[in-house]
């Protein structure tokens, strides 16, 4: 493997990892805060992607498409959280079935509204080039660099929101002791709605970011979850801080596997997940250890 091959694999792995991170972190936030698993995240990912496609098709700027890809799924998050209220605190099977049901409804709704035809979103013109390093004879696609930088900015903003803002303090308080927060007279229900908005919005924007590099159909919303699954388990289900390193490790490992074991490269994330589950069921990056 040459240095340029390694550098390219690194960029691809990081970009792929960052998209997985955005999707997974939205789920992780909801798991940590509410103890509920949102199995509909894949549907909101595709929803965000298709919103991006139609916004770009309407000749609006790509930045607007990203915003729409975040905002509309985030608004739907209020509805999903509302649907979950009656089963909150009950066995998690109920919330699992509801979020799965929402996922099917959303995917079928998109099929009804937009049809099942495959769609291709054009790359924004200013990002449709390559950053070349002549001395290394290597060219990094500008859009992949954009994915890394943009997602990293979101990750930083997300972290700052959590550690430096009042909303973040509330979120952390709910994660630590939800009942105590309720006793303090804080509107926990409203905070849950905001959590769902952010969680689904992150899924939506991940899809919007990925739209220019993948063919889109509504029914893909039911399979995206499989790609996020290893990230969540390797990072630790209720460990929000674990999602980023897990996504990056798996993204880069997968990219390097494509070079060394091409026929079996797509097994790598799942193999890593099984190994981690065996030795550290709480996740590789969880402080709880085994």
């Amino acid at each position: 493997m040459t240095v340029s091959q390694f550098a390219l694999a690194l960029v691809v792995g990081l970009a792929s990892g960052m998209i997985s991170y955005l999707t997974a972190s939205g789920m992780s936030l909801i798991i940590s805060g509410m103890g509920t698993i949102n199995f509909g995240q894949g549907a909101f990912y595709i929803f965000g992607a298709l919103l991006c496609y139609y916004t770009v098709k309407a000749e609006l700027p790509f930045a607007v498409a990203l915003l729409v890809g975040f905002a509309v799924p985030a608004l739907l998050g209020i509805v999903v959280e509302f649907l979950l209220r009656p089963v909150f605190g009950l066995d998690m099977t109920y919330s699992m079935l509801i979020t799965m049901g929402v996922s099917y409804m959303l995917c079928d709704g998109m099929s009804l509204m937009w049809g099942n035809t495959v769609r291709a979103t054009p790359v924004p013109p200013m990002l449709n080039g390559a950053v070349r390093i002549a001395s290394m004879n290597i060219a990094f696609p500008a859009y992949y660099l954009f994915i890394i930088i943009f997602s990293a900015a979101i990750a930083v903003a997300f972290k700052l929101m959590f550690t430096r803002t009042k909303l973040g303090i509330y979120f952390r308080a709910i994660i630590s002791d939800r009942h105590m927060v309720e006793c303090l007279g804080i509107n926990v229900q409203l905070l849950f709605s905001v959590m769902f908005m952010i969680g689904l919005g992150l899924g939506g924007i991940a899809g919007a970011l990925n739209a220019p590099i993948s063919g889109l159909t509504p029914q893909q919303g039911l399979t995206i979850f499989n790609q996020v699954f290893p990230v969540l388990l390797v990072g630790g289900l209720d460990n929000m801080d674990g999602a980023l390193p897990a996504a990056l490790v798996l993204g880069v490992a997968s990219a390097l596997a494509a070079i060394f074991i091409p026929t079996y490269y797509n097994l790598v994330p799942n193999v890593v997940m099984v190994i981690v589950m065996f030795f550290r069921p709480n996740g590789l990056f969880s402080k709880k250890g085994a």
């Binding site: 996922s103 049809g115 590099i213 039911l222 091409p262």
Partner: protein
């Protein structure tokens, strides 16, 4: 934590199991652009005894439903042609739809449903990965099934059945065409395989090595990448292939798989260092969305196609009828499709073959509701049009037709929304590219199959 983990794993398992199908068996996966009338779904009882029913297994749910409408228009044109000519035995022909939900376990049940609903035969408009299961069912139930999917050696050698007829492209013929064109004429010495893991796509890789080495013993496969048909993010392998710069890439998997492949390939400069070969060079079901957004790599995709929709001078009345009816079809117009798709032609041929079999039964005064009788009748049908002479080979029940090799081009595509047409076309007849019995026997031995011939 354990409970959370257990719920998560249970949910993931459930989602994983159902994701492929996506919907309930007969729900139809309806959409405004690809309507499936309730009266056509399997949940409805057979309408009445005055129609002849043909079952169609197809994707109405899952990501693979994305290209279903292109198939559907094809079989609708086939049915339209039969009914416009007065039907068969004084009866109109109708289609009942069944969705196996992209799940091999459901294939047998849906085929049984079709049989129980009074269908005389089934058109299998589903991927080649599910075809062997259907072939086993057909053999067990002695019921005629016509396959539009790409024909693999799983169908012609491992699971051969006299009740299965293949109207789709033969993977061995595909390999022979590519070997002749790419290895023989263009001097390619190596390739990288990148495709989904259906039986025919695996054949395409293995048989290209076999046929390529007959022309150049040094011809080799540098790497083999298998992607899931659900996977849309494989930049890691695209970037690796681009840095490897093979002589050619054998790409398999249409629809969203090829769209993602092309988009990512453009970003990593894949098409600057190599050309991509597949079997949907001008197929609108896959190429239109890329063309619409100016992302189609004209000139860099080469390979097979089956209908010259852009050149009327090459069409006879039959193919012109197919193309005109396809474009006039309500579903085609509501979806804004720009040209007939290859997959539609295969479905049209499948219905036509069943229709000719039924007519042969009527002409002979035999009972077409007897599956054995209809199976034998389908074996004997034949017709000729501008895409070649058509009959089912006794050796493997493969329909014969011409295979066109060409290079995608933008010139002339303006009438089709930019969807590519082909240039530098070479026509191969079935006699030239379908495998001989000797070749199949030798290959069967490598597969460990000893009782096929």
């Amino acid at each position: 934590m354990k409970k959370l983990l257990a719920t998560f794993l249970a949910g993931a398992l459930l989602l994983g199991m159902t994701a492929c199908g996506g919907q309930t068996a007969n729900s139809g996966g309806t959409s405004s652009s690809a309507p499936v009338s309730a009266s056509q779904t399997a949940s409805e009882p057979a309408s009445d005894g005055d129609t002849i029913k043909i079952g169609v297994l197809t994707y109405m749910s899952s990501a693979r439903a994305a290209t279903m409408a292109f198939f559907q228009i094809g079989w609708e044109v086939g049915i339209q042609e039969i009914n416009e000519a007065g039907g068969i035995d004084g009866k109109q022909v109708e289609v009942l739809l069944y969705d196996p939900q992209n799940d091999a376990a459901q294939v047998s049940q849906r085929l049984t449903d079709a049989k129980n609903d009074g269908c005389v035969a089934v058109l299998f408009a589903v991927g080649d990965d599910l075809a062997p299961t259907a072939a086993e069912w057909a053999e067990e139930n002695k019921f005629p099934v016509v396959f539009q999917s790409n024909t693999s050696t799983e169908m012609t050698i491992k699971h051969f059945s006299k009740y299965c007829y293949n109207v789709g492209p033969n993977s061995w013929a595909f390999a022979k065409v590519l070997a002749d064109a790419a290895v023989g004429n263009e001097g390619k010495t190596n390739f990288v395989f990148c495709g989904t893991d259906g039986a025919a796509t695996i054949d395409a890789e293995n048989l290209l090595i076999l046929e390529g080495q007959k022309i150049n013993p040094d011809f080799e496969c540098l790497a083999s990448y298998r992607v899931s048909s659900d996977d849309s993010q494989f930049s890691n392998i695209i970037s690796t292939i681009a840095s490897t710069a093979p002589d050619m890439v054998l790409q398999q998997g249409g629809g969203p798989t090829f769209v993602a492949f092309a988009q990512q390939g453009l970003m990593f400069g894949l098409f600057d260092v190599t050309d991509v070969y597949n079997d949907f060079v001008v197929d609108t079901s896959t190429n239109s969305s890329l063309a619409e957004t100016g992302q189609f790599p004209y000139g860099h995709t080469k390979g097979l196609f089956f209908v010259n929709f852009w050149d009327e001078s090459l069409m006879d009345e039959t193919i012109k009828y197919f193309c005109d009816s396809y474009m006039a079809n309500e579903l085609c117009q509501s979806n804004g499709y720009v040209a007939p798709a290859d997959a539609g032609l295969h479905c049209y041929r499948g219905i036509k073959a069943i229709g000719l079999g039924l007519q042969a039964c009527v002409d002979a005064g035999s009972d077409y509701t007897d599956p054995e009788v209809l199976t034998n009748a389908i074996a004997g049908i034949s017709w000729t049009d501008s895409t070649g002479e058509h009959h089912f080979r006794e050796l493997d029940n493969q329909l014969t037709f011409d295979y066109y090799y060409g290079v995608s081009t933008q010139e002339g595509s303006e009438n089709y929304g930019g969807s590519p047409v082909a240039t530098d076309i070479v026509t191969y007849t079935s006699d030239e590219v379908l495998p001989t019995q000797e070749e199949m026997e030798a290959y069967a031995q490598t597969l460990g199959v000893t009782d096929r011939f």
